[in-house]
């Protein structure tokens, strides 16, 4: 087996005394595009925040490249859920993308010409360069999503965590974002993406993680997207877009 990049062992996380994640185990190899699925409130965002070190687990271990989180600062890039961002913050597209470089700039120095170059390249890749002077709240949903992608690319980390990058964007933008994700994977990165649309999950991802507090399934889409399993997890709230039968009229 190839050396794994992310190892999660017996991970338990709670807010107060309510567990949000219970005894989660999985490991992820290099160069994978992984989807996390599960109903609302099932702990998907919590899992990402724990992998980023923002929430401390009650119990369990997380290893990145075989080392604990504290030794891996800046090796994981993060694209937050759109609803978690303050879109009124006085900040421009370019300034958000520049945040991806902060870990490389010592506190007594300014960003270098090279930092500006990398940020510009990242903005070009996700096609927001001509918006660089706009305040982030002025953009459309898809553009906002891409700004944070630019930040993640500028960070040049080998692991990317994205929280619902496809929520509230139009079909064309969804494709464009997916293309960026795929080419990031081709260039050797590992991506973990929280995803809410079960109809596209199989098409987009190499492997899926199905969670609702506990890990229900992990593996190829074929294994995870079993009807019985999904019904159990989504408890009838399943909203797969079942094809509407339409009688053809002559």
């Amino acid at each position: 087996m190839a050396a794994s990049i992310i190892d999660v062992e017996n991970l338990t996380v709670s807010y107060g005394n309510r567990p949000a994640l219970l005894d989660i185990n999985f490991s992820i190899g290099p160069q994978q595009l992984i989807g996390i699925i599960g109903p609302n409130g099932s702990g998907k965002s919590t899992l990402l925040k724990t992998l980023l070190g923002f929430i401390k687990p009650d119990f369990g271990k997380i290893k990145i490249y075989g080392e604990p989180l504290a030794r891996n600062e800046g090796r994981i890039a993060y694209v937050p859920q759109r609803s978690a961002v303050d879109w009124d913050f006085p900040i421009t597209v370019q300034e958000v993308a520049m945040m991806g470089r902060y870990q490389y700039i010592p506190w007594w120095k300014e960003a270098s010409a090279r930092d500006y170059e990398i940020v510009e390249q990242a903005m070009k890749t996700v096609r927001v360069l001509d918006l660089s002077k706009h305040q982030i709240g002025e953009l459309s949903g898809g553009q906002q999503q891409r700004v944070f992608m630019a930040r993640a690319l500028a960070q040049q980390s080998s692991i990317l965590l994205l929280d619902e990058p496809f929520a509230g964007v139009d079909a064309a933008t969804e494709r464009a974002i997916l293309d960026v994700l795929k080419s990031a994977k081709e260039s050797g990165k590992t991506l973990i993406v929280v995803h809410h649309d079960l109809t596209t999950a199989a098409e987009y991802f190499d492997q899926l993680i199905l969670i609702k507090q506990r890990l229900y399934a992990f593996g190829s889409p074929k294994i995870v997207l079993q009807e019985e399993l999904l019904h159990q997890v989504y408890e009838g709230k399943l909203r797969i877009f079942s094809d509407i039968v339409i009688s053809k009229k002559g």
Partner: protein
């Protein structure tokens, strides 16, 4: 001339005015700049909590020096005492709101009133022993500012601005995205404490000038005013500093002219500035919002104009449109003008025609309308109702969605009324 000279230049010759101007500006600028972070992190309560806590800290510091070293009114000790009291208050607030079910806003009220009360009681118990004037705390006395207070203001201001300059990126990221900040090794808790410590120093130093009640205003009003004019944080900080400075200058003149309390006049001027900007700010101001709303035309009306011109054989008059669309003349005129600007229609005299670009758009909408009709009929809606429903749905004309409908329906050539569906 003589008069103006008296009004503006005379006060500048007074030492008390010079000192007030200098000390006030120094501390107000620090307040304004750090206030930007306070409002962006929604910590406005912090200023309130801190200013109330500090009376206990001042008395504590005073007593400590007096009892141990027999030094009266040792300014640095009182300052340190205040900062400690402030940190304790903030620590207690976050501790109690985390471990109990009482929400943070209530906890804040409980804590700072409790600590304020302990200060008041201490002062009254030791009133013959220590010489602290409570009124001085409540109202402040910027016109009677002492040399040592001036020094404190200068040092605090320089210190805080230096910290902000060096750790700008840390503060910005921890405020904007604490999750990413943590992931690249910035300790958000440490940033929180440093910010709280800076705010306490500024507040403590400002209290002796404008008093406990008004200090919060000095912390957040200039920053909020600047927020209405800024799309970038550095600009917001610069403008906040400017508005703090003008508040002090304007307020001090006001207080001399009107012979009023200095602190009150400064805050009054500061609030006045806020209201002017709140009304007039070009992008985020109230009037510009009204104007934008006034100019707003519903997208569906624009699309209805396009389709009705096409339906009437690509020529219509404003009058026929008005009758057909049953919309108000005012809106319709605005809509027609807007479409003209977008080069979708041409108006010659009273006649309205579609341009090629306009025709293409109108065809797209009609295609959506007729496909929706076919779809609705296929799902079993009575034929006489589908037109009205489709009229609302036609504005959902996202290409992918419409092509999906077309595929599902097997690419029909005609809608249920037998009309041709444009490709």
């Amino acid at each position: 001339m003589e008069n103006l000279y008296n009004l503006f230049i005379d006060p500048l010759h007074q030492t008390f005015f010079q000192k007030a101007l200098l000390g006030g500006s120094l501390i107000a600028i620090a307040c304004g700049v750090i206030g930007c972070f306070v409002i962006l992190r929604r910590m406005a309560f912090l200023g309130d909590a801190l200013s109330h806590a500090m009376i206990a800290g001042v008395v504590g510091g005073y007593l400590f020096m007096k009892v141990i070293f027999s030094i009266e009114a040792h300014a640095p000790a009182m300052l340190i005492g205040s900062v400690i009291a402030a940190l304790i208050t903030v620590g207690l607030i976050s501790f109690v709101s985390q471990v109990s079910r009482i929400k943070e806003d209530a906890v804040i009220g409980i804590m700072y009133c409790g600590i304020f009360a302990s200060g008041v009681v201490l002062v009254s118990i030791f009133r013959d022993y220590i010489h602290v004037d409570i009124m001085h705390f409540i109202m402040g006395d910027i016109l009677g500012i002492t040399d040592s207070e001036l020094w404190v203001a200068a040092i605090v201001s320089a210190f805080v601005l230096t910290i902000l300059m060096f750790f700008y990126r840390h503060l910005q990221l921890a405020t904007f995205d604490p999750i990413m900040a943590t992931s690249i090794g910035i300790s958000v808790a440490l940033i929180d404490y440093s910010l709280t410590a800076c705010v306490s120093m500024v507040v403590v130093s400002a209290v002796s000038m404008v008093g406990v009640i008004l200090v919060v205003g000095l912390l957040i009003t200039p920053a909020a005013t600047a927020y209405l004019l800024s799309d970038r944080l550095p600009r917001m900080m610069a403008l906040a500093a400017l508005f703090s400075f003008t508040s002090v200058v304007g307020g001090l003149y006001l207080s001399v002219w009107l012979d009023s309390a200095g602190g009150g006049a400064i805050m009054l001027f500061c609030s006045f500035q806020f209201f002017v900007i709140f009304l007039l700010a070009p992008k985020y101001g109230y009037f510009s919002k009204l104007i934008r709303r006034w100019n707003m035309i519903p997208q569906s009306l624009l699309e209805d104009i396009l389709t009705s011109v096409l339906r009437s054989g690509n020529q219509a008059s404003s009058e026929s449109l008005r009758l057909y669309l049953k919309s108000s003349t005012k809106l319709l005129v605005k809509g027609v003008n807007q479409l003209q600007r977008e080069e979708l229609i041409i108006k010659t005299g009273k006649q309205i025609k579609l341009t090629d670009k306009g025709k293409e758009q109108a065809n797209k909408i009609i295609r959506a309308h007729r496909l929706w009709e076919s779809y609705l009929e296929a799902t079993g809606m009575p034929a006489n109702e589908v037109h009205r429903a489709a009229h609302h749905l036609e504005h959902l004309k996202d290409e992918a969605a419409i092509n999906y409908l077309d595929n599902k329906l097997g690419h029909p050539a005609h809608d249920p009324h037998g009309k041709k569906i444009p490709q």
